[in-house]
């Protein structure tokens, strides 16, 4: 085993998070290498110090007070009988809004954004179909977001990012519509859609000005952990 590999394994060895074979190889290397043995001894001292400090108990808080606040934000029992919606009134209002928005989406996509039709047309069907539509939307956006997130001047060597203008417009429209429809019913999705809105608009602004600066877009994506959040959202 090389010393560099042994050094990387030290933190895992300290947390006892090595496979049996890895642990044996690591111990063998440390036994035979004086430099790594010294490093290992030092790491163990630092780790012991970290562990001493980790004895910190959590601050005392009132669980009851927190529960009351949570409880206040949950929909009432009787209102759950309408499933996704807290009451009949909400269900009717939402259905009306969906209908109007659905018509808007259909007309808008028919005229301007043919490539975006498949995904957002599912959002207008019923409240129950919003979730799959949102997941589809995230899937459609993933390649764009990941590509910008992976951008590096060294690797990409400049402006090689091309995105079809019609597709970009369709994605922006989809994102805005989903944001309006879903946001108030899904607190998890709202901030994510806001972040995506920001990314898409930045791309669109750059595109309209005829310049491309993938680093700025990458900064927004990485700064807001958008790729991670998209991944987590799919898993929840």
């Amino acid at each position: 085993m090389k010393c560099s590999k042994a050094r990387k394994m030290m933190v895992l060895a300290l947390y006892d998070d090595l496979q049996e074979a890895e642990r044996r190889a690591f111990e063998e290397h440390v036994r035979d290498c004086r430099a790594c043995d010294r490093e290992w001894e030092e790491s163990r001292r630092v780790f012991a110090l970290m562990k001493s400090a980790a004895g910190e108990s959590l601050p005392q808080i009132s669980w009851e007070k927190n529960w009351v606040k949570i409880n206040d934000r949950l929909p009432g029992k009787e209102r759950r009988s309408f499933g996704f919606f807290p009451s009949r009134g909400w269900a009717i209002t939402a259905a009306s809004m969906l209908f109007v928005l659905g018509i808007g989406i259909w007309i808008g996509q028919l005229l301007f954004f043919p490539s975006g039709r498949e995904v957002s047309s599912r959002a207008e069907a019923s409240p129950g179909s919003l979730q799959p539509a949102l997941l589809d939307h995230l899937e459609a956006l993933k390649p764009v977001v990941v590509e910008y997130s992976n951008y590096s001047v060294d690797r990409n060597g400049g402006d090689r990012f091309e995105i079809d203008r019609a597709l970009l417009q369709a994605l922006i429209t989809q994102n805005q519509l989903l944001k309006q429809i879903i946001a108030e019913h899904d607190p998890t999705a709202a901030p994510l859609l806001e972040d995506l809105d920001l990314v898409l608009k930045e791309i669109a602004i750059q595109d309209s000005r005829g310049r491309r600066d993938p680093a700025t877009v990458k900064e927004i994506i990485d700064g807001r952990d958008i790729v991670l959040k998209m991944e987590l959202f799919k898993r929840i």
């Binding site: 001493s52 005392q60 949950l74």
Partner: protein, 192 residues
């Protein structure tokens, strides 16, 4: 009562069953949030937000029969922590300004005010180092160091590879070692 029954009841709108789930996971989520954000108020906000989101999405959890509620609710908690972190942009507080309580790592020495002061100093130093990590690395370190999750579990929770988690932990420990080594040299600790 078994957890699966509580989940079914909570999904049907039984608030008492959801309260029992809250009782089962509140410390885990609050611990995750406090260790990540180092601020009691923000951690309480994350605790509340996590359970509100969990309640709204409980139906979706049931469709994934193999998933554990603990992992699922932790992922919601992580998401809330990242949101809170972004909103507050490092509204960092060391243990001095919070109600953090000293843990007794060595009961015999706990009574020694000098020892307690030095431990507190290490704690603050460590918190300040971790504060400088990128958000994802900070979360990986927190999950390993405070939540005792294995590399495999952290990778699954954060949606990245085990290799990436190992790299983040290696970088974290190297940074901590670099700073605490200096500290050890200055203090010539007897506590080790």
């Amino acid at each position: 009562m078994e957890e699966s029954s509580l989940i079914r009841m909570a999904q049907a709108g039984d608030r008492e069953a959801f309260h029992r789930l809250f009782e089962a996971y509140r410390e885990k989520i609050f611990g995750l949030a406090f260790n990540y954000l180092r601020n009691v108020e923000d951690a309480e906000d994350v605790l509340q937000e996590t359970f509100v989101r969990a309640y709204h999405h409980l139906g979706r959890f049931n469709r994934e029969e193999s998933a554990s509620l603990s992992g699922w609710i932790t992922r919601i908690g992580i998401n809330c922590c990242l949101d809170s972190f972004r909103k507050n942009k490092m509204k960092f507080q060391t243990a001095e300004g919070t109600a953090a309580v000293d843990g007794a790592s060595d009961p015999g020495r706990d009574a020694d005010p000098e020892y307690r002061r030095e431990i507190q100093e290490v704690r603050e130093k460590l918190a300040a180092i971790v504060e400088g990590f990128p958000p994802k690395q900070r979360m990986a370190f927190s999950l390993r160091h405070h939540q005792d999750l294995k590399v495999r579990e952290i990778a699954a929770t954060l949606g990245c590879t085990e290799g990436a988690v190992k790299t983040m932990l290696f970088r974290s420990f190297e940074a901590i070692k670099k700073h605490l080594k200096k500290f050890l040299g200055e203090k010539s600790y007897e506590m080790l």
